[in-house]
Amino acid sequence: MSATCELQPKDYKSDLKPIWCPGCGDFSVVQGIYRALAAIGRPAHEIAFVSGIGCSSRIPGYTTAYGFNSVHGRSLPIAQGIKMANPDLLVLAAGGDGDGFSIGGGHIAHLIRRNMDITYLVMDNQIYGLTKGQLSPTSQKGRVTCTSKYGSLEEPVNPLLYVLAYGAGFVAQASPTDLVGMAAVIEEAIRYPGFAFVNIQSPCVTYGEEAQQIKGLKAIQESLASLGHDSTDRLAAMDLAQHYGRKMHLGVFYRNPEPPPTYGDLVRERQDLLSKDALPRERILDLFIKK
């Protein structure tokens, strides 16, 4: 790692102009990311930032890191391949609630059980904004959208409870209502040695409901620190996470006090062990010799 203390948030800002609607929560999320990255101080070229498809998935392009704006729902498999190919990189994944909990919903459980050192930021706006306001996996039951004309008949997914149940080592929630807190949580997530998940309640200004805009969020927000929550207590975290959708708890729900080895650690161990008796590459066919 070649850390340097000279890097500023603006050093992580690219020249691309965001296409987001003015008033979108993602404008502050990207600022939070710039700040967290500057605090950590890894040079941009040592960072790989992967996303899927959606408004929020445009975000890697707005940073100076190596970005990969891939296909819908698949940021996590790609991020894992990157991390396995080069464990020295700082790997971030980001996307929306549809990307992470609907079309790509099958991937997160497996990334969590592999415990790769990847930070996953979900910009949860409870709506499909890019395609003009359809029901999303985190939309509240009863929500009226253009694909639920008479109200949704489904319960929303609870992203926080989901990842806690899968055994994630770091789970937090942030919101543009508190950029400083968000930057701090993202920084802590990146620093956590293992998989880290941050759910960011980032309102959709165009299709979001009034209650889910900044003012509405402020009304239901509560900092976990102020509640005296012990972030090493996973069950307490799950208890609090049940309030998702009604309260907005900000801060760290759970941080494993004794982080287990990451997948990368285990891979390196295995490589070191087995490389000692490797046939040279050019003689690999000797494996097939029958005497």
Binding site: Y66, N69, S70, A85, H107, L274, D277, A278
Partner: protein
Amino acid sequence: MRKDLVFGMAGSGGDGIVSAGDSLLQAAAAEGYHGVMTKSFGSQIRGGESSCRVRISTTPILNPGGNLDVAVALNWEDFLKFGAELPVSGNTVVIYEAATNIKESEIPLVGVTPLQVIAVPIAAMAKETAGTERAKNTVVLGLIAGWFGIGAVAVMKGIRKKLAKKGEELVEANQRAFDAGRAFAMEHPLKASMNVLPSETKGAVKLITDGNDMCAAAAIFAGCQFFGGYPITPSTEIMQFFTEHVWRYGGSVLQAEDEIAGIGAAVGASFAGKKAMTATSGPGLSLKAEMMGLASIAELPLVIVDVQRGGPSTGLPTKTEQSDLFAAAFSAHGDVIRPVLAPTSVADTFRITVEAFNLAEYYQTPVIVLSDQEIASRKETLDPIDTSQFKILHRLRPAGADLQDYKRFKPTENHISPISHPGMLGGTYLASGIEHVESGAPTNSGSVHQRMNEKRTKKFDSLKERKDLFEVTGNPDAPIAMVAWGSVAGVCREALAMAQAEGLNVKLLVPYLLYPVAEGVYNDFFRSVQKGLVVEQTHLAQTYKLLRMHIDLPKGLKSLARSGANPFLPSEIVAALHLLLSELQRSHEGELQPQE
């Protein structure tokens, strides 16, 4: 004395007939013979019908063989399930289990009178000598050693090695069963001796492996450091090989949660600068389509192995077919060229896999290796391969001036732009599935899209000039021709040799590069051709149609296509060629007759 024998054996999984085939192949290799073994199974995990074919020859083998010289049926019900996969002819010696209580004159083979039929009390001999009927397969090996002169010493040497850890008692039981089989054969000589000529290369080093292991080993040789995949028959052994070996080379492997994640991780690893691969079969190829499109537009090197099986959907998971050709060439939406290569044997799976990595790296593209169940799971004896003759290519990296104001998709003369990877100072860019300008920044512009489509397709123009990815055999000016690829190519090679021996003027084109279609190569080949066959194991004649889409085919070129799992026999192809010759002669006679 024979220089070549084809054995076909079938029983239920509990009969250990495939394991016997393995022992026979290894013994033959130890004695210096060339050998090929294919396996075929029913759909049960355990105890379903299973069969193998073993071909043993004093010269290199072109194809696992047509009609059987020797058929072994441990029970008829299982044997018959394989139908055309185990074809018995008038030249076949049929050996079967006497306990089936079927008279030699009443065996259930319709429309054919074998050369000789012998009922052998195989189970009884096993029980008597080894104390268990399970030793039937060893009795069969003894019979083969006695009647055909293969493995008299080497079979037991191999079995001894394999069972050494399990104790002397077991080895001795097998020895008694083997000896009993051999003694039975000696006491009941065949009507006409079918002993195989001794090998001339006894003691030479031979490799034995199957197409899947060869493919994985070739990938590691080519520098592949990441494999992401999901178990699917008949490709899984490729991933298994990686999980055992890739760590030794600083690489890693991910058994992903699904097919999409498998290829996704490989796309990620390639983006991160490493050579990466995934392998699958038909259903998995369908699932991976979107990611293949992503790799094409992001111009990321990637090798995708598709071990074909019968389709669509689950189809025939344990049987071979060539029907993924269209999917390999055309799946993933949008205008895209994705090279498709196909090996024709275990041996050339090495070269083709290395070539796939070279093309992927050079052209910065996903490349499909279209293997098939037969090549993937058949075992071949091979002469050692001199790996030093293979050149290994790496993607073009940006250097010096490129990194001043790095443009990932910079226009160049050959449309290939230097590619950076995370960790490289000065090389940061946005890779994306969305259309992008030269820097990588997203765009919606139609004119950029046109320009980038040109870049991404024109870069393959030079690939179509690669004549070394095609094999032409036979008389180059022949008026009659065959085109075949994959495992069917081997059958046609053998048919070519047979046809030439019968005086036919014929030639064969075997494309290793299936897509993009190299129009020039085909046009050259077809110049002399008046009649011919495109031979393939697809119901819809996909190869023939793919060629017709790109080339003005000779009028007399026909399709010889059939669904998978029904192998072609070299003899039937030769018969079809004779028919073409007579048509040709008739049409010439027609030309010569005076007009009235």
